[in-house]
């Protein structure tokens, strides 16, 4: 089985579809928080801030030169690579995005299950160019923050300037969140997104609940599948 994958890429890189072919239970990074009642199962709560997990998305890290990758990402994903540092490009319906992480590093987020096929198409497109693609879908999750107090909640949590002067729509930054780090994104006018690491997810949830207590904050997630 592994041999087949080596061949698929000239034996240089082993690609790996992490998803089982049969239906198997999966738990997002917020699952344990939900088990303890910190996270609500279903949506519907309306407070001054709403925090909703978008679990099981496909997260890929792209490494390489901007020009090479831009051409491939445009062709295979229909989104251009952000041209400037800290740029975030989102497609029309908001379900696919490409984000600048560093001068040779981008984060691609796509609907769950698309990531393996996308990786293969990109690899094929990029051919012999020097690049790397790494699937990190199991290691992080996306959380959306919206509501009137979302900005103030973030001011309690990150040192970054979350005012629209500092974080306008289309910008995303890696920064400190409480005592850990997150990727903080502003995909649209209505809210913010946090990309949080799996192992820190429960800490982040507990932090958000504590900081958002005065706004009646609840966290929602369909965190198992």
């Amino acid at each position: 089985m592994s041999e087949a994958h080596f061949e698929a890429n000239g034996g240089n890189v082993a690609v790996f579809d992490t998803h089982p072919s049969e239906v198997i239970a999966a738990e997002s990074p917020l699952h344990w928080s939900r088990e303890r009642g910190l996270v609500d199962d279903v949506a519907g709560h309306d407070g001054d801030v709403k925090v909703v997990e978008r679990p099981f998305l496909g997260h890929l890290i792209l490494r390489g030169g901007a020009i090479t990758l831009d051409e491939a990402v445009r062709a295979e994903l229909g989104i251009s690579l952000p041209g400037k540092p800290l740029g975030l490009n989102v497609d029309a319906d908001g379900s696919r995005s490409v984000q600048w992480l560093s001068p040779d590093e981008w984060l691609v987020i796509v609907p769950g299950g698309e990531e393996f096929e996308l990786e293969n198409r990109l690899r094929e497109h990029l051919g012999d160019a020097h690049f790397a693609i790494v699937n990190v879908s199991g290691g992080q999750t996306l959380v959306e923050l919206s509501g009137d107090k979302a900005r103030e909640l973030l001011m309690k949590s990150v040192t970054y300037d979350v005012h629209s002067h500092g974080l306008p729509v289309g910008k995303a930054v890696g920064t400190v969140f409480a005592k850990t780090s997150v990727v903080l994104r502003r995909p649209n006018e209505t809210g913010f997104e946090l990309v949080i690491r799996r192992s820190f997810a429960d800490y982040c949830v507990r932090w958000l609940l504590d900081a958002g207590r005065e706004y009646g904050l609840r966290v929602e997630s369909p965190s198992s599948r």
Binding site: K84, S102, P103, Y160, L167, G170, K171, G174, V176
Partner: protein, 129 residues
């Protein structure tokens, strides 16, 4: 708490996102085997500790994970410039002395410049539009 200009993210960030990584511009001898024990010891263990202008390497650990250099005044904690790996500082102890003698301030407002490019407040807007 420093406010450090990351030359890759192209904006200032809080110190807690960074990690100091020691003196900048250290050169690892290309052929270590031909270097004397004493010279290798110097490379390993001896560092400058100047009063005044110092060049340091930092890494934007919780941001873009890139290493870069800082020219910092160790007496005032001012960061005079930051510049990517592979580049040379435009401000050194020597230029600072000359500028001081000529009555020229080395940098405005305690803010860093990127190489010779002066810091300005529109930098942030430019990067984020």
């Amino acid at each position: 708490m420093f406010y450090i200009f990351c030359p890759y993210c192209d904006e200032r960030r809080e110190e807690e996102e960074f990690h100091p990584s020691g003196q900048a511009h250290l050169v690892r001898p290309t052929d270590p085997e031909s270097v004397s024990d004493e010279a290798w010891g110097d490379y390993l263990f001896f560092r400058d500790n100047p009063r005044g202008i110092h060049h340091e390497m930092w890494v934007h650990r919780l941001g873009c994970r890139k290493f870069f250099n800082i020219t910092r005044d160790t007496t005032t904690y001012e960061i005079l410039e930051t510049y990517p790996m592979g580049e040379q500082p435009t401000i050194t102890a020597e230029t600072a002395r000359v500028r001081r003698e000529q009555g020229v301030q080395t940098a405005d407002g305690g803010w860093q410049t990127v190489g010779a490019q002066p810091e300005n407040s529109t930098l942030n807007e430019e990067t984020s539009s």
